[in-house]
């Protein structure tokens, strides 16, 4: 909402002229002033001067040399405007040194075609008064004596404009009268709203029929005959322009002035274009259409409230008039409407057609339903002032009475809620000056009638807020918060935090990724089909909620690679959205991505490989639950399609699959333009219990010594080391404390297709020192089992000398 300081000053005599002071007080009371700017900046330096001579420029076509009388002196100027008046006409001169912010220019002497011009004749656009830059401002010859300062002759050419950001609960602030009332309270000054005389006229003959009193409780109207539609005078145009409303014609401008003054939208119909002497406020019927003033044909909905004449809809109630009954320069007779429409009805229609008008904005928030007569009378008076016309008749239909609310305010409650006592006198004064009517004076409670301009107030707490905001929240002294025992951060936040801590500790960097993704990305990654689709996505690549964290990570990786950042260690932690009950299941998940080369120490960089990915995934889980997950390669039939056939594994913890990891499938790499390979892993955190480590039980430290044996076998390269280790462990049984692989070797003297695997087996018994013979026998059994099971040949087995 834009507001004019000079207009407010006329409504609140004595209001300070210092814009910052007014702005600060409005902001302090909850009507936030976001900006203050000057309308007509530069006009204060300009003079009204008389043209005394005009001759063509000696060398430049289209330019003229204009001699002007500025009262004390004459001067000659170069002017290119097409509308320089005959001698005697009056124009506006910006003297040397004037700064015109609208054009960001300072007037300096300029030589044009050999003639020096010391000043400029101005258009309205150059002064920022309107967008009209076609010609200079011209006044009648007898306007004012030459040399009169422009603002003396034309005070409306300068103003201070506030940009006020109004919250939706304050429709009263959408008109200058409402803002003035507020300021009168804040500055404790008298409030002087216009008092238009009651319209004294007979009822006119146009029938007014209202079908639904809920949607249109009040409808006031007036008919004016014989108006002269034309341009508005300067003060009207300036006022409208200063407030961001385009001046159109005196009649339309009047409705806009009243809108800006009362905050109450009105509409003017050309009476001749209202068919059948009838106004019918009703719901649109099936198949009806309306061409609105913006020239768009709209197929109406059965929920739209329309103003119809005998032939059909002619306005969309409270939103926009129809082109068919628009006031034009030829209009002679007017039908003025000033009604109260149901906010929700107007809002639904406005949203249905994506229209947001000055009118719908106000009706949606709730205009003052008690001021229809005043606004209408004001409009009639202004029209008669600007366009003449005879008031032929008025008519008012009240389909439904809107009862004023009555609200009690207990002083004890106010003190209790605010933690600060406010004097009852102060509270009463504030509320009364805001327009609340004190109805009843109880021992502790006052009962107020709510004024019609405050539809937002319906409860005691609303009154408390009114008092508090006017008194000022700064007046309420802060009280130290009561002491509560501090609590550890718990819940899902704690889990996510632990995961983040470990992931960062493992050298991963956290990415913040969107939860909405493109459906195609999920399909590409073989992720579960989306459980949640957006009905109104903002972008076509954000249409469903993710069922995997990978799309966001992959986008980040692809973007980084486009910017030549090739080495990536990223993770993301957040929810994925899967099928659930009434609401989807939101599962906490972590995913990471490795790409490019692992950091190396004074050696050639090498690309991340399967064991980097596995090591990271295993370490992450290990650090969270203090036990080691297994990685089990996927079978071809169950392998997720986004992973490479050669490198795809499930992460298994205590027999349960908790995640997947692997190399991104090259088809996926190509599809998302990743430009190089990437290793990815994703872990379901709902299966991770970070409290497990707390339940650790101490185990006695082993008393008896260990004894180790090594074992190296040559087997076919398709034998998995883990399978061999498992057999070793199974055969060695309880005596094997650990089985570690320490070498894997191919090539050299080994036949093609063969691989040498070397294991280190640590033997120990819990209850005795093992004898060499016992261990050797066990290890021999291990060797036999391994060679026979895997068809391998023994390369060596030997015992390690204890150090």
């Amino acid at each position: 909402m834009k507001a004019s300081l000079s207009w407010l000053q006329s409504l609140v005599p004595g209001l300070p002229g210092a814009p910052d002071l007014v702005a600060a007080r409005l902001t302090g009371a909850g009507l936030e002033v976001e900006g203050v700017h000057v309308f007509g900046a530069g006009a204060e330096c300009c003079l009204v001067v008389r043209v005394t001579a005009v001759r063509p420029h000696p060398s430049r076509e289209g330019l003229r040399l204009v001699t002007v009388d500025r009262g004390s002196a004459s001067q000659e100027l170069v002017c290119g405007a097409p509308n320089v008046p005959e001698p005697g006409g009056m124009v506006v001169l910006a003297p040397l040194g004037t700064y015109l912010p609208a054009k960001d220019m300072t007037i300096e002497p300029r030589a044009i075609g050999g003639v020096t011009s010391e000043g400029m004749l101005c258009s309205e656009a150059e002064l920022g008064l309107s967008t009209d830059g076609d010609g200079i401002i011209v006044f009648a010859p007898d306007f004012v004596p030459p040399g009169t300062p422009l603002l003396e002759a034309w005070p409306s050419a300068s103003d201070t404009i506030f940009e006020i950001s109004l919250t939706p609960n304050r429709p009263d602030g959408l008109g200058h009268i409402g803002l003035a009332r507020e300021l009168s309270v804040l500055f404790e000054l008298p409030f002087a709203p216009p008092m238009p005389a009651r319209l004294a006229a007979r009822e006119h003959d146009v029938a007014i029929v209202i079908d639904d009193g809920e949607r249109c409780p009040h409808y006031a109207s007036a008919i004016l005959l014989g108006v002269n539609v034309g341009a508005s005078p300067a003060w009207v145009r300036h006022r409208l322009n200063s407030l961001g409303v385009r001046a159109i014609s005196n009649v339309v401008d009047v409705t806009n002035l009243v809108l800006l003054e009362y905050g109450h939208p009105m509409h003017a119909f050309d009476l001749a274009l209202l068919r059948g002497e009838k106004v019918h406020v009703r719901l649109a019927r099936a198949g009806e259409t309306l061409r609105t003033l913006d020239g768009v044909d709209r197929s109406l909905d059965g929920d739209d409230l329309v103003i119809a004449d005998a032939a059909g809809p002619t306005a969309l109630a409270g939103v926009m008039g129809g082109a068919g009954s628009e006031v034009k320069p030829t209009t002679e007779n007017l039908f003025f409407e000033c009604a109260y429409f149901d906010p929700r009805t107007v809002r639904r229609s406005a949203r249905r057609y994506g229209m947001h008008t000055e009118s719908s904005h106000r009706f949606e928030r709730g205009v003052d339903h008690g001021d229809t007569d005043n606004a209408l009378a004001r409009a009639v008076a202004l029209t008669q002032e600007l366009a003449g016309g005879l008031l032929q008749g008025v008519k008012r239909v009240d389909q439904k009475a809107i009862e004023p609310g009555r609200v009690s305010l207990r002083m004890t409650r106010m003190t209790q809620l605010l933690g600060h006592a406010i004097d009852r006198d102060v509270s009463t004064r504030v509320l009364k000056s805001l327009g609340f009517v004190l109805d009843e004076n109880g021992s502790d409670a006052d009962t107020y009638r709510v004024p019609t301009h405050r539809p937002d107030v319906s409860r005691e707490v609303d009154l408390i807020e009114e008092v508090a905001r006017v008194v000022g929240l700064d007046a309420i002294a802060a009280v130290r918060p009561r002491v509560r025992p501090s609590v550890p951060v718990g819940g899902r936040e704690r889990l996510i935090r632990r995961v983040r801590e470990e992931a960062v500790g493992l050298g991963l960097s956290e990415a913040l990724t969107y939860a909405f993704v493109a459906e195609g990305d999920l399909a590409l990654l073989g992720a579960p089909a989306p459980a949640v689709r957006l009905a109104n996505p903002l972008h076509e690549h954000h249409t469903v909620m993710r069922t995997t964290l990978l799309p966001g990570l992959l986008q980040a990786a692809a973007r980084a690679r486009r910017h030549n950042e090739r080495h990536l260690r990223l993770f993301a932690v957040g929810s994925i959205f899967l099928e659930g009950g009434e609401l989807p299941a939101e599962r906490p998940t972590v995913a990471f991505l490795l790409g490019g080369e692992r950091p190396a120490f004074l050696s050639r960089l090498q690309s991340y490989d399967a064991w980097d990915a596995k090591g990271l995934a295993v370490s992450l889980v290990e650090r969270l639950v203090h036990s080691t997950p297994e990685v089990v390669p996927f079978e071809a039939t169950t392998r997720p399609q986004h992973l490479h056939p050669r490198a795809a594994g499930r992460l298994v913890l205590a027999g349960k699959e908790i995640g997947q990891l692997g190399l991104l499938h090259p088809d996926v790499v190509d599809a998302i333009d990743l430009d190089g390979e990437a290793w990815v892993a994703e872990i379901d955190l709902s299966l991770i219990d970070i409290d497990v480590p707390k339940r650790t039980r101490f185990m006695p430290i082993a008393k008896f010594p260990i004894s180790s044996r090594d074992l190296a076998v040559v087997v076919s390269e398709n034998i998995l080391a883990g399978d061999v280790a498992r057999v070793i462990g199974a055969v060695a049984g309880d005596l094997a404390e650990r089985v570690d692989i320490f070498d894997r070797f191919q090539g050299g003297t080994l036949p093609t297709g063969q691989v040498s695997l070397a294991f280190h087996v640590v033997y120990r018994a819990k209850d005795r020192t093992l004898t060499d013979a016992e261990i050797d026998a066990k290890h021999a059994a291990v060797v036999t089992a391994v060679t026979s099971r895997f068809g391998g040949t023994l390369r060596a087995w030997y015992r390690q000398e204890p150090e």
Binding site: G28, R347, L473, E510, R559, L583
Partner: protein, 355 residues
């Protein structure tokens, strides 16, 4: 006979006595400690020269034997002493050489156990804010990101078809649920399932249909709320003042401006004294961050609206409460001087590695 042998032995001992030290020195000089030990073994070892001399003693009579024995022992001690001394000298010069060798090039990079990982700035701020409220006795409460209209709007007192909902342009799902527009849904859920007193903070992702320099369609919020008997606006103010001092430093002032959120009343927006243009004197000059006002808006707050209590089955006469909410991205952007919210979601390694 015996004296002849004795004289011979004496002769051998004298020869050895004269020779052992130069021999040790020569060996040590040529072959270091191993050669020295070898030389020592040649003299004192089981098959060594001194042992050989000792073996000749069997042929001499008792008293001469005793004498020779003493001489041999004496020589043995001399040899051992010399040997030990040389060993020590050798060790010392070895230590010395080691100490004086070329220093390691400590300007070469260190071998990091793992590369450094980076927390996202939004996460760092989120953790810090939650820790502050946890220490003030607020427990963390979770809630779903996809929510029923009732919990996101209706029970919070958003009237249907009301412009208040324009303040939070909503993503709807095809099944009629919505992406929560604030974490205030947690307030509703907590109040519907628990009895006062309660003090919670609810962090998490929220969604609004907005996308520009200062708005992201997904962002993060932390809402806090307290419900108890006799909770006051003054206490809300005190709580937020405490928070501001802990997050932005002691002495950071707050200012409250009345504002409107459907689920609180009185409602307010909270500004902190600008932390970017504060002068050593404590005054604020005004800067581009605070738009020359000296104040920066950081959160919205208010007393929980009685209608919310009614919708959640809590007696609004008996209980009062306050609630506040802040955008985590905004706090992070202010803290680190990040000008564009989109930087937070691009995950550029050159961005992430700065935090």
């Amino acid at each position: 006979m015996s004296t002849e042998v004795e004289a011979q032995i004496d002769q051998s001992l004298a020869t050895l006595r004269a020779a052992f030290s130069p021999r040790f020195e020569a060996a040590a000089g040529a072959g270091g400690e191993p050669a020295l030990r070898e030389e020592n073994a040649k003299i004192l070892g089981k098959k060594g020269e001194l042992t050989a001399i000792l073996k000749q003693m069997g042929t001499v009579p008792g008293d001469a034997r005793k004498r020779i024995g003493e001489k041999v022992n004496l020589l043995k001690q001399e040899v051992e002493a010399r040997f030990e001394a040389l060993i020590k000298t050798l060790a010392a010069s070895k230590r010395d050489a080691e100490l004086n060798a070329l220093p390691f090039d400590l300007t070469l990079p260190g071998r990091a156990p793992t590369p450094r990982g980076h927390r996202h700035p939004v996460s760092s701020v989120r953790e810090e804010v939650l820790d502050i409220f946890a220490s003030l006795g607020f427990a963390v409460h979770d809630g779903p990101e996809i929510e029923l209209k009732e919990n996101n709007f209706t029970r919070l007192g958003f009237p249907p078809d009301h412009p208040a909902t324009d303040m939070q342009d909503t993503f709807w799902t095809t099944s009629g649920t919505l992406l929560r527009t604030h974490t205030s849904n947690v307030q509703v859920r907590a109040m519907m399932s628990q009895k006062p007193p309660m003090a919670f903070v609810a962090p998490g992702a929220v969604y609004r249909r907005d996308d520009d320099v200062t708005h992201s369609p997904m962002f993060h919020q932390i809402e806090g709320f307290v419900v108890d008997e006799k909770v006051t606006f003054a206490e809300l103010k005190g709580t937020l003042a405490e928070f501001a001092e802990r997050l932005y430093g002691p002495g950071t002032p707050i200012r409250m401006r009345p504002s409107y959120f459907p689920f609180v009343e009185p409602g307010a927006e909270v500004d902190i004294g600008c932390v970017f243009c504060i002068q050593p004197s404590g005054t604020r000059r005004g800067c581009s961050v605070c738009k020359r006002t000296g104040w920066i808006e950081i959160l919205g707050c208010g007393m929980i609206h009685p209608v919310v209590f009614e919708h959640c089955g809590i007696d609004p006469e008996r209980y009062t409460g306050f609630a506040f909410g802040m955008g985590v991205e905004r706090v992070a952007m202010l803290r680190y001087g990040i000008p564009d919210i989109r930087l937070l979601f691009e995950n550029d390694p050159r961005f992430l590695s700065q935090f």
